[in-house]
């Protein structure tokens, strides 16, 4: 049922002397049945499995952290770092979805507070480690503290930052218990997201069945434009937030220590995770089916470019300080930036134009 939102002075009486020239003219108008099929595939084939996998990976990370605290050793330490990487990559796959419950109640920032140009997170983590604040060792209470000290960025510092060797020396030491609480907090948020998307009458239904009384999408055009928005914004985030944060080109200033997860050398695994997430969503949703035959090659071309980026990102030196100083490595970075721009254009103008956004997706987002 549609909801009338009252403001006290508002009434919704019919207007007199109304001259009307046709209905509204939405820019994207696709068959509802086809769009419903695509939206259902996107939710059931990518979004829900993505959050479920992230929940599982963050649970394993929590278990590995607790094992490290109970029995510090090189083996348990390596296992914890490995579980961190797996959970971070799992997050990277589904991180491309920057709409819906994940951007409500600070969930996104609680999982990952980044970019952090002023090193707010680093300062807070260093502070809590020096004070050994016991309330930060319980995921429940940690979850009520600053978002900058309760997500992946904080845990990376615990595992790979200055003083991390302490993790090998002290059983149930403060640093480790704080790290385990961070992992537990991430797992808690992951469970929330998984549960919200798995509930059959909530956002899952709203996304899968656009319609006049739908709280998310009234029309097929709104739904598919939002899905395209995930891809466009996700591709922009890889280029603008994950690569250009530390490297904008040979002649520009370079900031390798501004890169996400530079300490643990997980920058490229998570960038690959983002790119694989975009590719998987594009494939699993079946968005290509909404295009006319003549426009369909744009999807294959986008996939080919994403595949090329995924492969190239595996070949860049993991030590970013070395990567930005080496001419051969910089050429790879330049190629990734150029390819990223192409992917954005193909989705924005190519796919966007093909579904009816005459000037592309980004141009049409108003303001």
């Amino acid at each position: 049922m549609r909801k009338i939102v009252f403001a006290g002075l508002v009434s919704l009486l019919p207007a007199a002397a109304l001259a009307q020239e046709g209905d509204a003219a939405p820019s994207v108008d696709l068959p509802m049945a086809e769009v419903t099929k695509v939206m259902t595939a996107a939710v059931d084939g990518f979004i829900r499995p993505g959050y479920d996998a992230f929940h599982e990976a963050s649970g394993k990370m929590t278990t590995a952290m607790k094992a490290l605290c109970e029995a510090p050793s090189r083996t348990s330490y390596d296992a914890a770092k490995s579980a961190f990487r797996d959970a971070a990559v799992s997050w990277a796959h589904i991180e491309v979805v920057r709409v819906g419950p994940v951007i409500e109640q600070n969930r996104f920032e609680r999982i990952l507070f980044y970019p952090d140009r002023k090193s707010t997170g680093l300062k807070q983590v260093q502070s809590v480690l020096s004070k050994a604040d016991e309330t930060a060792t319980d995921p429940a209470t940690l979850g009520t503290k600053s978002v900058a000290m309760q997500g992946f960025g904080a845990l990376e510092y615990v595992l790979a930052g200055t003083g991390s060797e302490e993790l090998l020396k002290t059983k149930n030491g403060y640093r480790c218990r704080y790290g385990a609480a961070i992992a537990g907090n991430i797992a808690n948020v992951a469970k929330e997201l998984s549960d919200i998307w798995d509930a059959p009458d909530g956002i899952q239904k709203a996304w899968e069945q656009p319609g006049p009384d739908n709280p998310s999408f009234r029309t097929s055009g709104e739904a598919i434009t939002a899905l395209l928005g995930i891809l466009v914004h996700g591709a922009e985030a890889v280029r603008d937030q994950r690569i250009e944060t530390f490297y904008k080109g040979e002649d520009k200033a370079k900031f390798p220590k501004q890169a996400l997860f530079w300490r643990s050398e997980n920058t490229w695994p998570t960038i690959r995770g983002n790119l694989e997430g975009l590719s998987t969503l594009l494939e699993k949703s079946g968005m290509v089916a909404l295009l006319q035959e003549k426009d369909r090659p744009i999807v294959a071309a986008t996939q080919a470019q994403l595949k090329s980026m995924i492969e190239l990102s595996a070949k860049v030196a993991p030590d970013l300080e070395k990567a930005v100083e080496n001419a051969a490595e910089r050429r790879k970075l330049d190629k990734l930036l150029a390819d990223g721009k192409e992917v954005i254009a193909k989705l924005n103008d190519g796919y966007g134009g093909a579904i009816g956004l005459s000037s592309g997706f980004s141009f049409s987002d108003g303001d």
Binding site: R2, L9, L12, R98, R218, S364, D367
Partner: protein
């Protein structure tokens, strides 16, 4: 009559002078000579470049000025002829140009820690330029003040008393700054992402134009906290019209436009349910035609242009306009542009941007 000075196309021609008209192509000159009104709007060209164009009421392009990136709102001083295209958020440039090309362009850069929000307005005498800006690390909207008589030197700033500041304008007597704080937090580190949709704080604010002192601030009731108050225009009687974009549930029917005056509470236009649906819960631009006593609203989301009675707020006309973008007062009624290149009667090979301003 539209907001600003009561000059028309002849006034624009006179101000432009022989040098300007002599430089126009015959086609552009003809477009200008037969125009009842002249407008400016940002655009994207087919090659992906951006600019701002002067346009006849029929929609024929008269002249173009290249821009380094995409523009959003435009300010025009009838007193000096200076026109400013503001970068789309989170852009950091504002290009000051003279549509008659009698003065060199001036490029304004936002200061460190600020970016433009895409809108601004001149004082009535053209001596001051006010611009909506984001103090992004402080998460507060600001109004930058620039001296138009000294190469647009930044001479100060005022607190906009809200977040997500978007459109702003100046009262006819130059005493008040009128500010629409959309209530949405953004930060250039996150591009154009909306960071607080579940805890928005929209507000409408009046400031003393000379001192920046807060005169009046309206917040919205809890039920409308996701109603982003974004665009403004002022009617002849001083009534301030505002237009909104709803960030809440899509099947809600929020009010999308309203008005207030200094000292008064907010009132919302009584739009019929089908009009709210037609607008897609989203108004992208608003303009008052003072002569006709009407207010134009456009929605790219719904693909619609709606005209309201400026006294009563009732709907007098609705049109389906695919990808409707800007709106401005026409000789009669409202002029409407679209992303797919239509400007009233003419379709050009450009994508018109979100706003139009009338120059003469």
């Amino acid at each position: 009559m539209w907001r600003g000075e009561a000059i028309d196309r002849r006034g624009f021609l006179k101000a432009a002078g022989i040098t300007f008209t002599a430089a126009l192509s015959p086609r552009s000159l003809m477009a200008l000579e037969r125009a009842d009104a002249v407008y400016a709007s940002g655009f994207r060209a087919p090659d992906g470049s951006f600019g701002v164009a002067t346009v006849s009421e029929r929609g024929e392009i008269i002249d173009r000025v290249a821009l380094p990136a995409r523009a959003h709102g435009i300010a025009y001083s009838a007193a000096t002829g200076r026109t400013v295209a503001f970068a789309r958020r989170p852009g950091t440039f504002a290009m000051v140009f003279d549509p008659s090309r009698q003065a060199e362009p001036v490029m304004i850069s936002s200061p460190e820690g600020r970016h433009f929000y895409g809108h601004g307005h001149f004082s009535p005498d053209g001596s001051r330029l006010y611009a909506s800006e984001n103090d992004f690390d402080g998460n507060r909207g600001m109004i930058g003040v620039y001296d138009a008589r000294d190469k647009f030197r930044r001479i100060g700033e005022f607190d906009a008393h809200g977040i997500g500041t978007h459109d702003m304008t100046v009262s006819d007597d130059g005493e008040l700054l009128v500010i629409a704080n959309g209530g949405i937090e953004t930060h250039p580190d996150f591009g154009r992402a909306k960071l607080n949709v579940d805890r928005m704080e929209p507000s409408l604010v009046l400031l003393d134009a000379k001192t920046g002192a807060l005169i009046q601030r309206h917040t919205l009731p809890v039920s409308l906290r996701q109603l982003s108050t974004r665009h403004l225009d002022i009617a002849e009687d001083g009534r301030i019209w505002f237009a909104c974009q709803w960030e809440g549930e899509r099947n809600a029917l929020p009010p999308l436009a309203g008005w207030f005056s200094k000292g008064d509470d907010l009132s919302f236009a009584k739009l019929p349910e089908e009009t709210t649906i037609r607008l897609g819960n989203y108004v992208g631009a608003i303009a008052v035609n003072r002569r006709d006593g009407v207010v134009g609203l456009t929605s790219p989301v719904g693909g619609a242009a709606v005209t309201l009675d400026a006294k009563t707020g009732t709907v007098v006309k609705e049109e389906a306009v695919r990808e409707a973008a800007g709106v401005a007062p026409a000789a009669h009624g409202i002029a409407v542009s679209s992303y797919d290149g239509r400007f009233n009667d003419t379709r050009s090979k450009v994508a018109w941007d979100q706003h139009i301003i009338r120059l003469g």
